[in-house]
Symmetry: C2
Subunit: 490 residues, 2 copies
């Protein structure tokens, strides 16, 4: 089985995630997380909140994902957030023109071209329907915005936001003033977004509904290089794939990258470093991450610069976080759209802040973390599948196994389970051989398995087995909390 399929097989088998409304054969692009996947996703979000949002002193809001048309008129989404579509005139199959041309020509096709330019490429490259060889209709631009109707006659149009950041821009001035904030200041939000993807595919990668974690950093453009937080990260090394040299990853300190003007400013440099550090903390190896520079053809018109943060997975290098230097685009658009001056006071000065954005795909992060944690090892001529998740992310911290279901062993096991349950996510398993129980826990990434046996009754101790090394320690029950605590601190 190819690596990607093995990973999806494990995820599905253990219910980490699976297609939504499966018993009704629901449409593609919607996923449900089972208990293990939901815990993994939650743990990732929690770590982001702690190590990215709170560590940076950002303000986190929680805005409604459904917003009125005026918001997206102003932001430009209604006019320009679109995919080029073409239809087979014979069998009526629908294609995204850019992806189709890319698949056939094996060359990157800029997303931002006009319909006629796609038509030209289709003609030049003699592209036909891949299913029936039929001729393709003229390309039309199809909006990705998802419509929702309210009101007694179902005719009050609203939109499901296509990215979480719009509530941040719309609320910015109010929150800035209420919280008595000072520039530069990051605003953060975790939440749902929806896109009318025509061909949702690759599992958690191109969904119609997904979760984002976004950070919008507002700053005074005059002061973007007076940014003290950067100093601590000067020596932090980032991996870059520069424009035109995507295949050669360079490792460079922030300080050198700023000196060489690879980054627009200290703000850009610092937040890209913070981002990479966050993924290190999720247990992704540094050699499996890179920041790919986005060229003028690929990036949105308003962005002064853009970097895709990519992780090497079984699907190759995949985009996990999109980062944009958005400058004054957002607050200017909403000032105009709402006919209100959205400037704020910075020291003595009135200023319309500029924006740096990090936009994290949560579902993509779940996949990348799961994929990178997947391991197969040969143990006694059998294959051991083990999910080497960082301890902080594992759905269960500890499993408790009574060796047998008699002779007071279950009673002692339950005592141990109840004791640990207060501080750790615990799983109690009393069926099958201990070896089988170990394998089940290895597959879902549980860092520690604790077995209670006949000796435990006499000596008041248990066997603690480590997921990664398979090493077993004998630990007194009274010392168990202390023992585990130390394992987590390390």
């Amino acid at each position: 089985m190819p690596q990607y399929e093995k990973i999806i097989d494990l995820a599905t088998r253990k219910g980490f995630w699976f297609p939504s409304a499966e018993i009704y054969k629901g449409p593609a692009g919607f996923y449900d997380y089972g208990p293990l996947g939901a815990a993994l996703k939650r743990n990732i979000i929690e770590l982001w909140r702690k190590n990215f949002v709170e560590a940076d002193g950002m303000l986190e809001i929680d805005g409604s994902p459904i917003m009125p048309p005026k918001v997206f008129e102003a932001s430009g989404h209604l006019s320009s957030f679109q995919d080029p579509l073409t239809e087979c005139m014979k069998c009526k199959s629908i294609y995204r023109a850019d992806k189709l041309i890319q698949d056939v020509t094996k060359k990157i096709v800029p997303e931002a071209m006009k319909a006629e330019e796609f038509d030209k490429l289709i003609k030049q490259n003699k592209i036909y329907c891949t299913k029936c060889k039929g001729e393709l209709a003229k390309v039309r631009m199809s909006n990705l915005m998802v419509k929702i109707y309210f009101g007694p006659k179902d005719n009050e149009l609203m939109y499901f936001r296509p990215e979480t950041c719009q509530s941040i821009f719309v609320d910015f001035q109010k929150i800035y003033n209420i919280m008595r904030a000072k520039l530069p200041i990051g605003f953060a939000q975790v939440g749902l977004m929806c896109r009318n993807e025509i061909s949702p595919r690759q599992g958690l990668f191109r969904m119609r509904q997904a979760t984002q974690m976004e950070a919008e950093v507002f700053f005074n453009p005059k002061n973007e290089d007076k940014f003290e937080k950067y100093d601590k990260y000067k020596k932090y090394k980032v991996n870059l794939a520069l424009l035109g040299k995507e295949n050669k990853i360079i490792e460079i300190t922030l300080g050198d990258a700023v000196k060489k003007k690879i980054f627009k400013s200290k703000i850009e440099a610092y937040y890209l470093a913070l981002l990479m550090q966050f993924y290190e903390c999720l247990g992704i190896k540094k050699e499996n991450m890179r920041l790919r520079e986005i060229g003028p053809e690929e990036k949105p018109f308003y962005a002064k610069s853009a970097w895709d943060f990519e992780i090497l997975t079984s699907l190759g290098w995949t985009e996990i976080v999109a980062n944009h230097y958005r400058a004054d685009h957002d607050l200017k658009s909403h000032s105009k759209g709402s006919n209100q001056d959205l400037s704020v006071i910075d020291g003595e000065e009135k200023v319309l802040p500029w924006v740096w954005e990090d936009s994290f795909g949560v579902d993509r992060t779940v996949f990348a973390v799961f994929d990178n944690a997947y391991n197969e090892e040969s143990v006694n001529k059998e294959t051991r599948i083990v999910l080497k998740l960082d301890k902080k992310l594992a759905p269960y911290d500890i499993a408790v196994f009574p060796l047998v279901n008699k002779d007071k062993i279950p009673e002692l096991s339950e005592e141990v389970y109840e004791m640990l349950k207060c501080c750790y996510a615990c799983f109690y398993d009393d069926s099958g051989s201990i070896g089988k129980r170990y394998r089940r826990m290895d597959e879902i990434g549980t860092p520690f398995c604790i077995t209670i046996d006949y000796d435990s009754l006499k000596k008041k101790d248990v066997t603690v087995r480590d997921r990664d090394t398979m090493k077993q320690d004998r630990v007194k029950i009274k010392d168990l909390c202390d023992y585990l605590y130390k394992q987590y601190i390390k």
Copy 2:
């Protein structure tokens, strides 16, 4: 100012929550939470996860809120989840017939009546348009389901779930088997839902988009009184408002209520107690809670019994959690709808589990907690507004104040701030008098304020001031973590 308006004034002034897309005058029924409200909401959800979901050993899933029509055909929502609407024939104002009749007659009107029955009541009571006295059109039933369109031609109809539980029912069998669960077992979920409310009103109480926390407990109806967890709660006292005697709250132990057959079973009794205990843990006083028995006219047709959990707020007794004994309704409907047998194995037996449901309004809980925490006290002839939130719920745990912004006091203050930041949500405030800073923190419920003054420089100690008692302690900086830890344990 009436109490309710004072509370909304504080919430708005501090940005706990406010209408979404305010700068565009967005439609009613959608709210955003600013940083303080978002933290309060998150803390409530976290406590629920710990003290309700995990304490009971439930499995938490995270399903897509957008689902295909077949799900809601099977669940009955498409045919029967509706409001009776009437329109003024003159000025075109639209009313919910049940609410209009109730407002005019001051009598409870069952929701589940037919259109003609509403027409009859309107005629009998001589009810006209309250705005222009115009005649009202015949009542029509309007569905509350919210439509969303996908696909290249915007014509693939999906629905936004009107309650989170449907993903639980649809995924139940799969998850039960994967997780090797045993009956009885609770499934939980936190997430968004949408309803096409015609007259969204009362702030967080009748929103078009809201957050729910739901628990669906699956059990074998044969064994519902063999339920050991109940035993621990036998002596727990609940407050009941029984049918026909709503104005007299009785306090009764679970044991007695089961004996008197007030509750259908031990399962019903136990989960209602667990629920009440959870709200105690949120800091709601027991005398401000009650379980109101729902009569046959008010409850859904499939429910064998129903209880509204209500909290006394400045709006009167308000519904916060709806609890239904749903019996076999859900799994039977989805077995039929999907043409699949959704039974599971319980011991030696194949069984289609029955369901007990607790459906928590998260936004309503936020309001009730905020409302119940609001206090006004007279201090030195001035009014002190103080939000006496339970310590576990406060958006900030601690505020740090340098007495002055010079003479090395800011440096020491920042040291203290950095030290506490690792374990607590901290706010640094260096502007205005200390008295003013205290008041600002009182209004947002910060339990402790720490001031660093000239003595601190010499003696390495600080003043810790308690929000509720306003008592001040002088504490050595080296003992600060220990001191605070003890305050939280108490």
